[in-house]
Chain length 246, copies 4
């Protein structure tokens, strides 16, 4: 089915230092792919993994720069090479409600979470089409289903925007290049661990999840890997939800 | 059901000079509302209507200014007053495909078609909540359902973004303030008339519409009026599609 | 747009004695259509209306007969004539949960709420296609969105089934015959009035409705009429939700 | 995450002799589950597999019996035991268009494809809840998205009905019992092979699939296995589509 080539495959993971990102990195190293992981600040865990594997390449890059409107050129410099898969896990979060948002904060979230990833995908999909293999996965959030939480308008709005799949995906499909979205439910990551320690709201939030627990980063990473390797050979243009039944 | 007040109601129509906008203006003048219609260039038809009605107020404003990132303050000056209904028909179109888009052109379409209308609605919804009555309708396009046409990535992407309904809408509902989206099908407007004259593609486009004809601006305007006057008393948070069965 | 004929139009209302049905009957009498209203037991209100109007015709028919699997022929006798619009408001309710349902009770709800209405529509749509005008509306329930309530599996399941729109609707559209679904929210009808008197659950149920009140049958009937008369000239194949924001 | 028990797991595959069913059987035998496969006529391939594995158990049962309304009791006799996963691949197909269907043929398709599987799941889910582990997958068809093909109204209607997920799934989730739907695209099975040989329509059908080829039963079986084993640990209540981008 897939014209699998013998050479090593290479995945680009945007947001690679997030808790889920780290697990995705591990998954791909385990199946012997080359991995390029973008990060901004939290490089600790990634550097630990790098020590153990020559296949891991780290890319420091700040998408949520306040001057991010001028970094288009930098992007093409830093990310323009052949990749087999792209996974977008960028999750820039501010705490703006709809009532308190403004132009600048909307644009900050939007460029970091949606527009820059889309521009990177636009640039790299051309190479995927040439090599006749590619898997793109944009990770959004279960919040999109409900219009976002009270204090996460900008985040949810930008993740909603990210979910747009351009009609070109039909042409890409012919060349074995697939694109999908994954709506991820509440996951046991730093943010939620902090909430747990502070006992903020986390109990009420958990009540809304039928499965009655948060997802572990590890289990989310498995859905991601399944969708972005050869094990996904016939699904494209879809938005999947892994959210414990929410 | 509705705490209808005796005083005259007032509707703000963004994109009021479009072919559909003109018909919406007429509808509201007919039921004796005050009408404020925003326009940019095509003021002819609006000025003709203004001569016949004291209830029509014209607002010249350019949302798709190349420097539009700095007009947030101007917006609050020009649009900040009490309205009972807001109808967003802004449709800034460029001809960029996904393959040819770039940061600047994405942001141009996005701010004009989605972010400025959203910021205006954010500003005005507060007054609606105080007066306990309000109807907001964002008009998007059937293209959103299919990921846009070949050369309308920016337009479809921005219309997709516009369709995000923030969870706050549930609180607004309690105060009789409703928000909905209307996905509009192919309509017999200037753009499509031009295509028709030039015989570009229009036949192929029509084949995709089960009803087998374009909508007339007049009939679309009736759906819009129904959703933004008292005749909509129980529907909020919805995305409706009026597209001849597409 | 519509090839409106001068002769009087005729609507068939299945479930015409329900609280919403009565209001729909009134709406159509007001705009001077002929009305055929099917009922089973509650004929009081319908007979009261009949005294005042020669345009109202009553059809007694029991769809939820325990032997309903053998009434296909009866149906073609009783309902086979020219109609311009068909509105299906049949709502046979038992109190079976998923855990307690069985073959017989599933089939009872399914035939009454979905299969018989579908067979009637199948029979009558041919005449609509000949006369090149027709509007069909199947009314389902907001419960379908959530998999039904605890004790209404059969009802919700059958309403879900009813929402299937066969691809033939695209051919019908060409002949100006439209079909849509309307998901109706909690409405102030006999059932809910009873719950209110007994203070059963109704408060908790209301909490789930953003608008914070039930719909009145009158206001639901207006959405129905708009979708099944000439005022719907370009919408087909859609499922709309009027549910106070749920 | 999962309270995996040491004892061998057991999957029930309804429609186990279909081309996809055979591959699912193979997958589960490979990971050393016990497999019970229901079939009606085509037992050849299943019996071949049975010779090689003691873990495979065959259940002959005809769901599409013309007298199928009376087999409820037989079902509880034949299928009532502990299973860890249930996969419903029953696909009873007749060739009725919407225009030519009738009560009997609707009920035949509906009971075989939807109601009997649902009743079996209802019966078996109780045991899953007790053992605190269970995965249910109902397989429907991409046709449901489009209202079915011209001559497959009964099939598509029944598959649409099957997709109803009762709200009880939220309670099941707490006990680690999940239920999902899989909409399967055009697959290279006997039916389509026959079409291919006869060159009926198959080329036109393929044109509608962005990936530009049918799915192989093997690749569909992998999606199915992923959703019904421990590798699905956080997704429930979803309808997924694996259809080559349709």
């Amino acid at each position: 089915m897939n014209t699998v080539k013998n050479k090593k495959k290479h995945v680009l993971i945007l947001g690679g230092s997030s808790d889920i990102g780290i697990e995705v990195v591990k998954n791909f190293l385990k199946i012997n792919w080359n991995v390029s992981a973008q990060f901004n600040k939290n490089k600790k865990k990634l550097e630990f993994l790098k020590k153990k594997s020559q296949n891991l390449n780290l890319i420091k890059f700040n998408f949520s720069n306040s001057k991010n409107l001028y970094i288009e050129k930098k992007i093409s410099k830093r990310f323009n090479r052949k990749y087999d898969s792209i996974i977008n896990l960028i999750g820039y979060v501010d705490n703006k409600s709809f009532e308190n948002t403004n132009l600048k904060s909307i644009l900050n979230s939007l460029t970091a979470n949606a527009i820059y990833p889309i521009l990177i995908e636009k640039m790299l999909v051309k190479k995927m089409l040439k090599q006749k293999w590619g898997r793109i996965l944009n990770c959004s959030s279960i919040g999109v289903k409900f219009g976002g939480g009270k204090n996460s308008f900008n985040y949810s709005f930008s993740k909603h925007c990210l979910e747009f799949i351009p009609s070109s995906y039909k042409n890409w499909a012919k060349k074995n290049v697939f694109i999908n979205n994954l709506r991820i439910g509440v996951t046991n990551t730093k943010i939620h661990k902090k909430m747990k320690r502070k006992k903020i709201n986390i109990k009420n939030r958990l009540k809304l999840i039928p499965i009655n627990r948060m997802a572990e980063p590890k289990e989310i990473s498995n859905y991601i890997t399944n969708l972005t390797t050869g094990s996904n050979s016939y699904m494209t243009g879809q938005t999947l939800t892994v959210s414990g039944g929410e």
